[in-house]
Amino acid sequence: MSDPGERLAAGDRIELRFPARGDLVVLARLVTTAISARAGFDVEELEDLRLAVGELCLLALQGSDAQHGDLRLELTVLGDAVAIDCSLERASASGGVAPSPDEEETARLSEQILTALVDDHGRQSEDGAVRAWLRKRRREHAG
C-alpha cells in the first residue's frame, strides 16, 4: 500500500503521546496500522495489531482514574517484527488506584486476547502505573 520510499526499517522508532482517554485510543490504532503497514505487515496482521494495540491501551489504563495523565505509545520497528510499548504517565506523582475486581477481569480478557494475536506480551505495574507491551513478528512473504 505504501510506496517503498515510505518504508520504515529496523531501528526506526515512533512515539505517540495523547491524553489518557478511551475515546482517543483510536489514535493509537491509526498510528499502529500506519506504521506496521510501512514495516511490511500484511492486511491480516494489521488487523491483529489494530485489535492488540487497543487491548494494550486498555491494560495501561487499568487502575487509573483516566482523567489526569497521558498515554505514551512507543513503537519500534525491529528486523522482522514490531514492538509496542504502552504506558500511562500521570500528571501527578501520586500512585494509581488499585484496580477493581471488574478491572482485573477486563485486564485478564485483554491479556488472553493478546495471547491469541501477538507473539509476546506482558505488563508490569510500577508505582501504581501500568506498562504494557507486545511484540509481533511478520509472517514470511515471498520477496
Partner: protein
C-alpha cells in the same frame, strides 16, 4: 464502548473450579459453554468493525466456544477462558479468511477512497466549504477512523501517476485537495516547457501556482476567482493535456 445489556460477565470465575474436577462430562462442558457466552459475544464485538453483521460474528464465536468446550482438557492446567479465547479468535479469523476478507478489505479501502472523492465534491457544494472528516464519515456511512484510514492508504495509490482513473473526470487526490498526483512526473521541466507553452495562459498560471509555488487549490481558487472545484477540474484537464502532449514530444516516459 459500553458493555451493553449483557453486563460483560467475568469469563473465568465461574468455570475455573469445575474445570479441575475429575468428572468432566458433557454436562460440565455444556456448563462451560453457558458460562462463557458473554465472552464469545465480547470477542465477536471486537471484530465487528470489519463490516460483517455482529449477529453472524456472535454465531461464529459461539461455535468456536462450543468447539473449545469439546476439546478442553482440564488436566493441561490451562484456564478454560484462556483456551476458549484463543479458539474463538482463531475461529473468527478463519471466518474472515474463508470469506476472502483481506482481498475485500483492501478493495473496500480503495472504494471508500473513491467514494470519499465524490462525497467531498458533493458536500463541498452543499456546504460551501470543504467538509470535515466527521461529515465525510456520516455521508459515506462509515466511521471517522475508516475515513482517516482510507485517506491515509488511498494516497499511496495515487502518488506515482497522473493517470486519470477511467470514468473519472479528475484525479481524486486533486479533488480531495490533498496531493495532486503527477508532481514527480511533470518535474521534468525541460520536457514540460514546450507542452506547457501550448496551454492557455490561465491554465499555465494555475499549474505554476500549484506545482511550482506549492499553493493549495483553495488559494489558487481565490487568486483566479473561481471555485476550488473548478481549479481541481482545470488542473486535471491540464495535466491530462500535458501528458498527451508530452507523449508526442518524448518517445516514452521514464
Amino acid at each position: 464502548m459500553s458493555a451493553g445489556r449483557e453486563g460483560a460477565p467475568g469469563p473465568s470465575a465461574v468455570a475455573a473450579p469445575s474445570a479441575r474436577t475429575d468428572r468432566f462430562g458433557p454436562t460440565e462442558r455444556e456448563q462451560l459453554v453457558t458460562a462463557h457466552l458473554g465472552l464469545a459475544r465480547q470477542l465477536a464485538r471486537r471484530f465487528s468493525h470489519r463490516g460483517e453483521p455482529l449477529d453472524d460474528l456472535v454465531q461464529v464465536a459461539s461455535l468456536g466456544l462450543v468447539s473449545a468446550a469439546r476439546r478442553f482438557d482440564p488436566d493441561r492446567g490451562v484456564e478454560f477462558s484462556a483456551f476458549a479465547t484463543r479458539t474463538i479468535i482463531g475461529e473468527l479469523k478463519r471466518h474472515f479468511r474463508d470469506k476472502g476478507w483481506a482481498v475485500r478489505a483492501s478493495r473496500r479501502v480503495q472504494e471508500l477512497y473513491l467514494e470519499l472523492g465524490h462525497a467531498t465534491a458533493s458536500l463541498s457544494q452543499r456546504l460551501g466549504r470543504t467538509p470535515t472528516v466527521a461529515e465525510l464519515a456520516q455521508e459515506t456511512g462509515t466511521s471517522e477512523e475508516a475515513v482517516l484510514e482510507a485517506l491515509e492508504a488511498g494516497q499511496g495509490y495515487s502518488t506515482t501517476s497522473i493517470d486519470v482513473p477511467e470514468g473519472e473526470d479528475d484525479p481524486l487526490s486533486a479533488r480531495l485537495g490533498a496531493r495532486d498526483g503527477g508532481y514527480e512526473v511533470i518535474e521534468d521541466r525541460a520536457l514540460l516547457g514546450p507542452a506547457l507553452a501550448a496551454l492557455p495562459a490561465r491554465e499555465q498560471a494555475i499549474l505554476r501556482m500549484r506545482f511550482v509555488e506549492g499553493r493549495t487549490q483553495s488559494e489558487i481558487a481565490e487568486v483566479v476567482g473561481v471555485s476550488q472545484m473548478h481549479v481541481s477540474r482545470l488542473l486535471s484537464s491540464s495535466l491530462r493535456e500535458l501528458r498527451e502532449r508530452m507523449a508526442h514530444v518524448a518517445p516514452a516516459p521514464g
